[in-house]
């Protein structure tokens, strides 16, 4: 079956999720991955959206972090202060998802500004829940398309802390969680070097060359000694993913009132 690089990214991200995981789900790619996992190999995975919905089982992908679909299918919906205090800060989340405009070689993420903070070339939406998701979830997975523009030597602004300057920087700041243990892109999987914490390629998606990956990376990228080949999406994975997108498309466009 033919598939796009975006589909490969979603499938690769979904595969690492487990039935026992309690995920703090972001909108976009993370939400696709989490729900794909729930609809395939991890039916009991717990999805938590920062809007307060615990145990959401949406039939279609939410456009926003708080679509009706979420609270209507959730086990319960709590207030946002409770969500960030008892559930995220309380250490109840095993996996958090992050993405952003820029990612650097040590997994630090920028979702605030391109250029200077005072006079930004581009003012981005901001961190939202990310700064604390990055430090309080058991571990975080980063899901984003890879390009020289987004995978940079150094981010313009650290919105969410990854491994800082590498090594034991997290521990030195008193952060007790693992940080970004996996980066899933449309080309490959990257993981932090156990010592230096620099992100290195550990698995390459089908039909992708090391050269392509290097060209799409803003730093002198390292490849792990034992390199793996990411298995292509299975027919089941693709079918479920495409049905999910189709259902979503239909529902979100259902109430089109462009002039209003």
């Amino acid at each position: 079956m033919d598939y796009s690089t975006g589909e490969m990214m979603a499938v690769a991200a979904a595969r690492v999720l487990k039935n026992e995981d309690v995920c703090f789900v972001g909108i976009g790619a993370p939400s696709v991955a989490c729900n794909l996992a729930r609809l395939t190999h991890a039916p009991n995975i717990t999805l938590i959206y920062e809007s307060g919905t615990i145990g959401a089982k949406p039939d279609v992908l939410p456009l926003s972090i708080g679509d009706p679909e979420l609270s209507e299918t959730a086990l319960t919906t709590v207030s946002v202060p409770e969500m960030f205090r008892y559930w995220l800060q309380g250490g109840r989340i095993s996996v958090g998802f992050l993405g952003g405009a820029q990612l650097d070689r040590f997994g630090n993420i920028n979702s605030s500004v391109i250029g200077s903070y005072e006079h930004p070339k581009v003012r981005l939406p901001g961190g939202g829940g990310a700064p604390e998701i990055a430090s309080l979830c058991g571990q975080t997975y980063v899901v984003m398309r890879q390009s020289r523009r987004t995978f940079v030597e150094q981010v313009d602004f650290i919105t969410s802390f990854g491994y800082g300057t590498g090594g034991d920087h997290r521990q030195r700041l008193g952060i007790r969680t693992q940080g970004p243990t996996l980066v899933v892109t449309d080309l490959c999987l990257l993981q932090p070097d156990p010592e230096t914490k620099e992100l290195v390629v550990t698995s390459i998606h089908p039909n992708v060359t090391r050269e392509t990956i290097r060209q799409q990376t803003g730093w002198a990228l390292r490849f792990a000694d034992s390199m793996e080949q990411t298995p292509p999406p299975t027919e089941t994975e693709l079918t479920v993913l495409r049905e999910l997108h189709a259902r979503t498309e239909q529902v979100h466009m259902g109430k089109a009132t462009p002039d209003d």
């Binding site: 926003s64 609270s71 205090r85 800060q89 981005l124 939202g128 700064p131 089109a256």
Partner: protein, 280 residues
């Protein structure tokens, strides 16, 4: 104790130029109709507070009502940027916009501290984030028992909080359900509170003894505005108009199309008809 007013009168009486305002709603129950009326009455120099400023704040900013924005995520959920917010920050159009940027955790805790009558909130946050260097309102304290370094932010206490809820009874008691976000905290933290509701009923019919209810003596004014949360939604009343959120990206992308849309859909609209009109 609670005043029952028209949307026009409520905004006219409670929104003062230069005041700090929180129109809260975490993707759900966003008081769009109230925001539109603020634009129609051309209020100025407002300090807007909200965790997730979205389309209605983009409109207020684009129409020049706003001096400062306190926020933690300012985008069009699932769609992209808020172009009017960007234009104000990047090019100062129609006027420069001062930003005070926090994380969600910080703002949620700051609202809760405001509701709890505390001067500040403490939490475990901002570790390693550059936000600490650009926001002087982020400080740190030491736990007097463990010595752990914890982040502290000042309590948020808006001059006025405006929220939208499902319904109120004739005394002014208000019921909220579904994704309740930080609205209860935003209301209890504010000096004045306006609540727009889908309907006013004889009995709230709260489904649970623990339902989220604001007693009438915490609410300054109640305004009945059916559809007042559109294009966001009201759990149990109508769904989210995701198509409009998507369409907004094009509308707001350049100044002319934005102003034309505001002219047709907000400036020349009557507050009373807002709900119905936007629900078409």
């Amino acid at each position: 104790m609670t005043a029952f007013l028209s949307l026009h009168d409520a905004i006219e009486q409670y929104v003062r130029d230069g005041a700090s305002l929180a129109l809260e709603g975490f993707t759900h129950l966003i008081p769009f109709a109230a925001g539109a009326e603020i634009i129609r009455q051309q209020k100025r120099d407002l300090c807007l507070i909200r965790m997730t400023p979205d389309l209605i704040y983009d409109q207020l900013i684009g129409m020049g009502c706003v001096r400062k924005l306190v926020f933690s995520w300012g985008g069009n959920p699932g769609v992209g940027s808020l172009h009017r917010l960007r234009d104000a920050v990047e090019h100062g159009w129609p006027r420069p916009l001062e930003l005070e940027e926090h994380s969600h955790a910080a703002m949620a805790n700051a609202y809760a501290a405001g509701a709890a009558g505390l001067p500040c909130a403490i939490f475990r946050g901002y570790q390693g984030s550059d936000l600490v260097g650009v926001n002087p309102h982020i400080r740190f304290i030491e736990c007097p028992f463990t010595g752990e370094r914890l982040a502290a932010v000042p309590a948020i206490r808006p001059d006025l909080t405006i929220i939208h809820a499902q319904r109120a009874d004739r005394s002014g008691n208000v019921l909220m359900e579904g994704i309740i976000g930080v609205q209860k905290e935003a209301a209890l933290a504010a000096a004045q509170v306006i609540v727009t509701v889908e309907e006013i009923v004889d009995d709230l019919h709260a489904p649970s003894p623990n339902s989220t209810v604001l007693p009438y003596w915490t609410v300054s004014a109640v305004v009945c505005v059916p559809g007042g949360a559109h294009p966001s939604y009201a759990h149990g009343y109508y769904g989210r108009d995701n198509a409009f959120y998507t369409a907004w990206d094009e509308i707001a992308r350049n100044r002319e199309t934005f102003l034309a849309w505001m002219q047709e859909h907000v400036l020349t609209t009557q507050p009373e008809s807002i709900g119905d009109e936007q629900q078409q």
